[in-house]
Structures are given as C-alpha cells and as structure tokens.
C-alpha cells in the first residue's frame, strides 16, 4: 500500500501531497520537511529508495520535480518506480509534454489524474488511455455544465475577471 504521494520541487516547494494513511496536519508538515531534507540531498547516481521511520520512500526525479511515494517495508520498490513513471506518462499525455509550471497552475488537474490512478493507496488502472479518457470526460462534463448555466452570475463573474 502507498501511504502518501509527494511532489517536491528541487527548491523544496511542495507541488502535490496526497495522503492515503492518516496523518494529522502537523505530522504532514513534519513528514514533508523531513523527507525533502533527506531526498533532495541525495546524489544523482544513488538508488531511488530511502528507508524512513520503518517505511520505505521510493522517489524519482523528473526534470526539476521529485516524485515520492511512501510504501510498507515489504512493498515492491521497483514496481513503485513503474507507478511513478505511469503517473508521469499520463500527466505528459494529458498536458502534452508536461512541465512543472503546468502542475503549479493546474494543480487540481494533477490531483484529478492521480485520483484516477490511485485510490486508498492502491493502483486503480494500468491503462494510460483509459485514464486520460476518464479525466477528459469529466472535464468536458464540467464545461457543458458551465455552458448550460450561462446565468447572469457567470456573466458577472467573467466581467469582473
């Protein structure tokens, strides 16, 4: 089981956090601080696993972003690397050669995609096309609802933008 997913930039900025095990807000901050200290300082050629508080953190760097997933000590680390890559590939397909800025300004989209890949810390869907299609279908549903409710409030909202 995956306990949590973190996306941390090289500067230590948090880009995405997803918690599948229970951590209080305080613990979450602590975990993030601790782990970014450990992971960001590791050299480039070292292995992608860090043992941490009896658990294992699997991380992989893509450009300026570190994707980290924390798993049980008896989990399959190599598979987690594949899951991380799976997520990155889906992001790439969805955004079209994704970059960190996409994930900053559309962070909610990154979450939506993650929710189509993982639920309760387990893999939900191995097919990339299925995932992109599911997210796109929901996006278009949002669009149609927005168009339908072309009410006065939307017009005002757009005017005030």
């Amino acid at each position: 089981m995956i306990h949590f997913v973190l996306l941390i930039s090289r500067q230590g900025k948090v880009r995405l956090t997803k918690w599948y095990s229970t951590y209080s807000q305080k613990e979450r901050t602590k975990v993030i601080r601790e782990l970014s200290g450990v992971i960001l300082t590791r050299g480039p050629k070292l292995c992608n696993f860090v043992e941490w508080r009896g658990l294992k953190v699997v991380y992989k760097r893509y450009a300026s972003l570190y994707f980290c997933m924390c798993i049980d000590p008896d989990g399959n680390e190599l598979e987690i690397l594949e899951i991380i890559h799976h997520y990155v590939e889906v992001l790439d397909r969805y955004f079209g050669s994704v970059c960190e800025l996409d994930l900053i300004y559309n962070f909610h989209k990154a979450y939506y995609i993650l929710d189509e890949i993982l639920i309760s810390g387990e893999l939900q869907e191995p097919g990339k096309r299925t995932i992109v299609r599911a997210v796109a279908a929901q996006d278009s549903l949002v669009e149609t609802v927005k168009e339908q409710t072309g009410s006065i409030s939307t017009i005002i909202a757009q005017a005030s933008k």
């Binding site: 594949e82 300004y105 909610h108 309760s120 893999l123 191995p126 990339k128 949002v142």
Partner: protein
C-alpha cells in the same frame, strides 16, 4: 455580489504568490487572500465558493492553515452540480483527515452521491470514500459500496473494489460480505477491474482467514491461468510497459499467489510451473521486468519448498547483486535478507559481494548490506567478518559509524569464541569509535574483564596503551581508567604477561599520569571524572609512593562546581588523611562482577553470550542485596544524583538506588563467604549518594549489618512469635544487637493480632536507634492478591523530624500504591501513619518483599535510612 470578496482568479493568485521575492511578501499575499476568502465564507458567497476552495488548496500546499475552509467543502459537496462536487471532494481529501469530526457530516452526502444517476459523481464519491473514510463511515456505507461492485460500468467497479479495501481495513468484520463479490470480479477481462479485484482479494486474505481458505480453494487455479494468459499474451499497446504486458497485473497476481501458496503444499504445487515460466522468460534488462522478477522471487521464497525453483530464485538474486544499477542491488540485498530464513547456505555464497556493498557510496545500500551481514555472521565466520567491519569503521563517515559500531559490538558479544578476542575487538572499536559505543556495551566490557582473572594484566596494559594514543574517545578512557584503578598494581608489575604481548614498562607515576590526564581533560564529562576520582583513591593505596601526589589531584576537585565531584573530593581526602587504617580495606579490588545478572538487567537489549564459565558467580555477601547491580549501578550511582543513570528509566532509578533486584532477593541468605568488610563499606559509600561522609564510613556499617540480619535471619522468623532470638540467629554468626531490638519490637504484636482478628500478625518492619516502622495488614474481602498495609512510624528520639519522607520499592511481580502520610512532621516520641496497597501478582507463590528508604531532617540535618523488609507473613 460583493466586488471585494470575489478577489482574484486562481491563476492570478498563483502568479502573485510566485512573483513574491521574500517569504514575508508571500505571507502578505496569502494573508490578503485568506482574508478575502474568509469574508466570502461569512457572506455565504455561492458563486465563487469553488474558486475560493481551489485557492485554499493551493494555500494549504504552501503550508498555511486552512481549517476555516473545511465547512465549505461540505457545502460544495452538498450542492447539485458536478463541477462543484468535483472541487468539493478534492478539497475534502486534501484539507481534512479521517480524524476530524467534520468528516462525519459528509456521510449523508456521500450516501446520496453513491446512489446518484451520474456515474462520474458516483466515481467522485467512491474515490473520496476510499481515500479518507473512517471506521464509522465504512460501516454506514459498506452496503452501497458492495452494491457498486456489480455496477455496469467497469470504471465504477474498479473504484468500488479499491474502496472496499479501505473499508475492510477499517472494519475487518465486514470482510465476509466482500468475499463473494470479489471472487466474481476475478473473472473480469478489464485490466483495471482485474487488478483492483486481485488487490481486494489480497487484502481480504490478510484480514480474514475465512477469505484465505475460500480463495485458496476456489480461485488458485483461475489465478494461475490468468497469469499464464498474461505471460503468453501478445503485444497490447494500451498495457505495454517496456515490452511486457501490464507488469502491474503480473506483480499483483504474483503477490496474491504468494499468500495463497504460503503454508499450503497443494496450492504451491499448482503454481510451480507458471512461477518457473515467469522466472525464466521475463526480460531483465528493464525496470519493469526486474520488478516482476523481484516479486516472483519473493513468491518462490514464500511458498512451500520446491528445490528447483529456489535455485532459480537465488540465481536471479545473484544476477541482481552483480547488476550495476543501484536499485537492483538494493532490492537484491533486501530479498537476500528474506532468503536467509529459507536458505542461509545459498546466501552465504554471496558473502564477498555483500561485504563489498557495505562499502558502497550509497547510504541505503550500505545500511541494507550491513543488516544482511549481521544476519550472515555465525560462529565460524565471525572473525574474518568482524575484521572486515572494523577495518571499514576507520573509513566510514560519521553518520554511518553509529550504526556500524552498534552492529559490530552486538556481533562481537554474540559470537565471540574466546574472551581475549572479545576484549581485543572491543578495544579496537573503542579506540576507533568510542563515542558511538552505547553505555551498556562498555559496561559489559568491564564485567567481562572483571570476570577474566587471567586477562586482567593483558587488558589493563592494552587499555593503558590505547589510552596513551587515543584520548578523544570518552568510553575508551572510562574503561581504561576503571581498569587502571582496579588493576594498577598488575599494570606496573607486569603480572600475567601473555606471550603475544610486547613488554611494556609502566611506572607508578605513569599510571597516575594516565588517570590525571582523564580527570583534567576539559572534554571529560562528569561520569569520566567521577570514575577517575575513584580510580585515584584506589591507586593511593596500591601505590603508596604516589600517595601525596594523588592527594593533590584529588584536592584539586575540592573547588569543583559539580557538587558530586566536590563532595567526593572532600570525602576521599578525608579517607586519605584520617582513615589510613581502613583505607587499604576500603579500596580493595572490586569483587568479580556477576555476568548473568548483568546481562539480565540489560534485558533483551543485546543478547550476551560471552562465556562466563571461568568465574564462579560470586554474590557479594553484603547486606544490600545488590551483587549484580554492583558493577554498573555503583559506578553510576555517583552521577545519578545529578543525572539519571543511563539505560534506566525513572522508575528503575529508585530500584537501582535501593538495589532491589528480583534475582538477588532469592540469594541464599547464609553468606557463604566471609564478608569482606572493607568492600562493603566502599560499596555503600558509592551507592548512598547523599549521606554525609561521616555516617557512611562509620555508622553505615551498622546499618548494613542490621539490614543483613534482616535478610539473613528474619526469613527464618516468619510466623515465629515466641522463639528465642538467639536460637533463630544461631546460624548467622555476625548478628549483633539490632536483631535483638528488632525482636523486642516484635513482642506486642501478637496481641493486636488477636484483637483485630485478621490472619496476619502485624510486625515491626524496620527499626533503628531513632525510628521504628511497624506494619499492620488487612485484606479486602474477595481480593486475596491485594494487601492493605498500614505503616506506623514511631520517633524513638527526643528530637522532632521534619520533611519526613517514606519511599518503598518492590520487585516487578508486585504493584505498590502509596498514599500520602498523615503528616510529614514526626514529633518527638510521637508517631504518624501512612497506608499503602500492595498487589501481589504471584499471590500464593511468592511472598512480599520491599525495600524501604526513609529520609527526614533532624535538627536541620538530613538523615537517610534504608532497609529491606522481607519478613512479611508468607501468604500475603
């Protein structure tokens, strides 16, 4: 519409935050945004609720508090539109966790959404439920989720399957409801559904043995077939990863098979072929392939034995181990650790490679390899492996040294073939990484040296030599100082020279120099300095010629700011000047320290099996029943007044101080060796930290003897009411007056006994010239284990006692509850009482025993009295 609350767009806010140059600027922007969002919340603004929540999520990720937005999530979820719900559920998962009360409020909305006509809304609800549901919610919503496992759209079925995992983890009782639906999902072709179904079955097996039996019976063959189809399937672009079709499904199937095959030969047999096929056919040049192989090896190692497969698996690990990719080497080490339990011999073959990994530049690999080496060590290879590890200790970085030192010490203790080797290795570790050595490790070393009488000379000379070259390793210095103090004469006279030793000439003043360096070094801490002070006292008697110089050094600490050192310095000076006649006896060599009890005290921290055969374990025949506690406790009691003794918690501290020790309480009361008076006094001197010196050197022996007599003879006196004291004491030759007093006090008790009617006579538990303590017992009906004790303290002197404090300690099988005393002032010839409750968990098997300590002030002077009560009626 309030133009002020609408604020900026999400994108603009993010841009504004990103353009901040300092943290203060960022805080200002965030504060402004949060204020606007709060205003919108209080106005119950509907139009921008989802935008505000999106902003809050971003702010939350930056680490600012966002609790005020929690109710907004619920409102958005309760609204009807999909866009609102989508943001609402996302925020719910991000801003809340399952422990928050607010979460319960969402249960109803979730229930409605799980029954919604729009499948995407069902999907959102399932996702949220699967990620953060609490046990209560799981119970409430399980029927809905169960129903959705049969939903027409596969995307909902797979979400429901994963959601079920969370539910059965939160409420394992619900597992049986999910067994059948899960089994039917296993027949699906859709990869998403299949993968989640396999995962659900795996988790069901973990929480319910019923499920495990069911799946083993019904599904093993089907799963094997699914895996076979997968392995033989042709290229499918949607699921292909590096030339392998759906490695994720491969891995999950293998994981489930592992659980089904574990402990069941038939099921294991059924999967042998496919495991062999996976292990041989999967390409290992890409990570995906290696992930499958890794999982496959794990399954082969776990299921019931099949020799051929095991060989295959170990070979794969061997290949992994020589891989250049660090990740692969890491998992290989990880799996070899598991393989140790299955086939240690095969793992031993890779020993050289594993040892290389201990020196890897990657900390994760180093640590894993070290863990593995630790498992690999046995009696036959301990010497070369320890040599390797110690050799590496010099080169390793500081961070790793701690772990490495721990492991080496533990190995050396566990497997040392002979004492001299143990001492040698410990010496190397101490000189290389002494600051990383835990206290109990060097304590153990002292115990071992003390027990190896033929190696005293060798040890002290080696330590002396090491301390000459290395001075910055604190624990090395401590051990060296202790040994020089104890065996200084052996050091100087070259007694017990072994053939392998190089001759060394140490003069008496050299030895004193070594100790002086330790005490004067500014980095030495209190423990080291205190140990050095005691060593000096001991040397003063061993080396009469250096006596004057030693006195000077001791006196230098008279001005120490540390109370302990100052006090010792004055006391020791007093001994040197005024008590020449007792000094020699006082500083006799420490009696051999009892290894068995010492390792017992370390209770599980490290298994010690250093051979103890040489020394017949002596018990120190002094009244204070602490032979075992003696080595360390005594040394440490010095410092324990200021700092708690390391390795013992607060509760133990009192025990240490009072010396109650379970194992020693049963020590034979008849002292088999003649009491070594001098040593006893010294022990007492060291252990009673706060008593004034005059008392400890002279009158302490009285206290001691009275305690001893308590232990020795009162055991025989149980239940005796009229026996003559002399005949009872006939076998303990050294029983002086106190016992008589004690028995005098015993006189009136039988009468009370008959008045009150209880089966237990009251007794005088403790009596000194100034104080008497008597116990009255009663039992609560229906609770034979618990005894109520009413303690009465009587002042036998014409002085008032102030700040009266009674403390008691009991061994672990007893539980003690002390009520406050009726007063903390004891008037002259008056008395006060205090009640306590003792619960005896070994009622009927063991009788009560208690160590007591009474402190009070008489005429402004602190007085401390200690004793042991073991004359309780037997059946309490």
């Amino acid at each position: 519409m309030n133009p002020f609350s609408s604020g900026t767009r999400l994108r603009d806010m993010i841009r504004a935050i990103r353009s901040c140059k300092t943290a203060a600027e960022e805080r200002a922007v965030v504060r402004k945004e949060c204020a606007a969002i709060r205003a919108a919340i209080s106005e119950n603004d509907q139009d921008y609720r989802h935008r505000n929540l999106a902003k809050l999520m971003f702010i939350h990720m930056l680490g600012y508090p966002t609790h005020f937005g929690q109710m907004e999530c619920l409102k958005l979820i309760a609204s009807s539109g999909f866009p609102e719900k989508r943001i609402g559920y996302l925020a719910l998962m991000l801003l809340l966790d399952e422990r928050q009360e607010v979460l319960m409020l969402v249960t109803n909305s979730l229930k409605q959404d799980l029954n919604h006509s729009n499948q995407y809304i069902i999907g959102l609800a399932l996702c949220a439920l699967g990620n953060i549901c609490s046990a209560e919610m799981a119970r409430d919503l399980a029927p809905e989720v169960e129903r959705l496992l049969q939903f027409r759209d596969p995307n909902i079925r797979k979400k429901a399957a994963l959601c079920s995992i969370r539910i059965i983890k939160k409420v394992p009782d619900l597992a049986e409801n999910f067994i059948n639906p899960a089994a039917s999902l296993l027949r699906e072709k859709h990869h998403g559904v299949l993968i989640t179904a396999v995962q659900l079955c795996t988790d069901l097996c973990k929480v319910s043995s019923e499920a495990l039996e069911y799946f083993r019976e019904k599904c093993t063959e089907g799963l094997v077939k699914t895996l076979k189809d997968m392995a033989n399937s042709s290229y499918s672009p949607e699921y292909d990863v590096a030339g392998i079709t759906d490695p994720f499904l491969h891995i999950r199937l293998l994981k489930l098979l592992r659980i089904l095959g574990q402990g069941d030969p038939d099921a294991s047999d059924c999967m042998n072929d496919i495991l062999a096929q996976v292990a041989t056919k999967i390409e290992s040049n890409k990570n995906a392939g290696n992930a499958i192989l890794y999982e496959c090896v794990g399954t082969i190692m776990s299921i019931e034995d099949n020799g051929g497969l095991r060989v295959l698996a170990i070979n794969i690990l061997g290949r992994f181990l020589s891989n250049r990719d660090n990740n692969i080497r890491y998992v290989a080490l990880n799996m070899l650790m598991k393989a140790m339990t299955v086939d240690a011999q095969a793992v031993q073959r890779h020993r050289a490679t594993i040892l290389e990994c201990v020196k890897d530049s990657d900390a994760s690999i180093r640590k894993k390899a070290l863990d593995l080496v630790y498992l690999l060590v046995n009696e036959s290879n301990v010497k070369p492996l320890t040599k390797e590890l110690i050799g590496y200790l010099e080169a390793s970085d500081q961070e790793f040294k701690g772990v490495l030192t721990d492991k080496i010490c533990s190995l050396v203790e566990k497997f040392s073939p002979e004492k001299i080797w143990y001492i040698d290795q410990m010496l190397k570790v101490l000189s290389e990484a002494g600051s990383f050595v835990k206290d109990e490790v060097w304590h153990a070393l002292i115990v071992v040296i003390s027990n190896a009488s033929d190696l005293h000379g060798y040890s002290v000379r080696a330590l002396y030599r090491a301390s000459q070259t290395t001075t910055e390793q604190e624990s090395l210095v401590r051990v060296a100082v202790w040994c020089i103090g104890e065996y200084g004469d052996i050091l100087v006279n070259n007694v017990g020279m072994l053939d392998i030793e190089e001759p060394i000439t140490v003069t008496e003043s050299d030895a004193v120099d070594a100790v002086e360096v330790a005490i004067k070094r500014h980095t030495s801490d209190l423990t080291t300095k205190a140990m050095a002070l005691i060593a000096l006292l001991k040397l003063s008697s061993r080396f009469p010629s250096c006596s004057a110089r030693i006195k000077d050094i001791i006196l230098q600490n008279k001005q120490s700011f540390v109370l302990e050192l100052q006090q010792r310095s004055i006391e020791f000076n007093c001994i040197l000047q005024k008590h020449q006649n007792v000094r020699a006896a006082l500083v006799e060599r420490m009696p051999v320290l009892d290894e068995a009890t010492f390792s017992g005290r370390r209770a599980g921290s490290l298994p010690t099996s250093v051979s103890t055969s040489t020394g017949t374990a002596h018990n120190i025949p002094n009244g204070i029943a602490k032979p075992a506690a003696a080595p360390v406790a005594d040394l440490l009691d010095l410092s324990s007044d200021d700092a708690p003794a390391p390795s013992s918690s607060g509760g133990d501290f009192l025990q240490d101080l009072l010396g109650v020790d379970l194992s020693t309480a049963s020590a034979p009361p008849s002292a088999s060796q003649p009491p070594k008076g001098g040593t006893d006094v010294l022990l007492d001197l060291l252990s009673i930290g706060t008593s004034p010196p005059a008392q400890s050197s002279s009158s302490a022996s009285d206290i001691l003897s009275s305690i001893q007599d308590n232990t020795a003879s009162l055991a025989n006196l149980n239940g005796l009411t009229s026996l003559s004291p002399l005949s009872a004491n006939g076998n303990s030759p050294a029983s002086p007056a106190p016992v008589m007093d004690l028995l005098d006090g015993f006189g009136p008790s039988p009468q009370k006994n008959e008045e009150n009617g209880p089966a237990y006579p009251s007794l005088v538990a403790y009596e000194s010239s100034s104080l008497r303590m008597s116990f009255n017992f009663s039992k609560q009906p229906g609770n034979p284990q618990t005894t109520l004790i009413q303690a009465t303290f009587t002042n036998l002197s014409p002085n008032v006692y102030n700040d009266f404090l009674f403390q008691a300690a009991v061994p672990k099988f007893l539980q003690l509850h002390l009520d406050p005393a009726s007063s903390n002032t004891l008037p002259a010839n008056g008395s006060i009482s205090q009640s306590m409750k003792v619960t005896n968990s070994q009622h009927g098997k063991k009788s009560l025993v208690m160590r007591i300590r009474i402190a009070y002030k008489m005429n402004g002077k602190e007085v401390l009295e200690e004793g042991q009560v073991n004359n309780f009626p037997r059946d309490l």
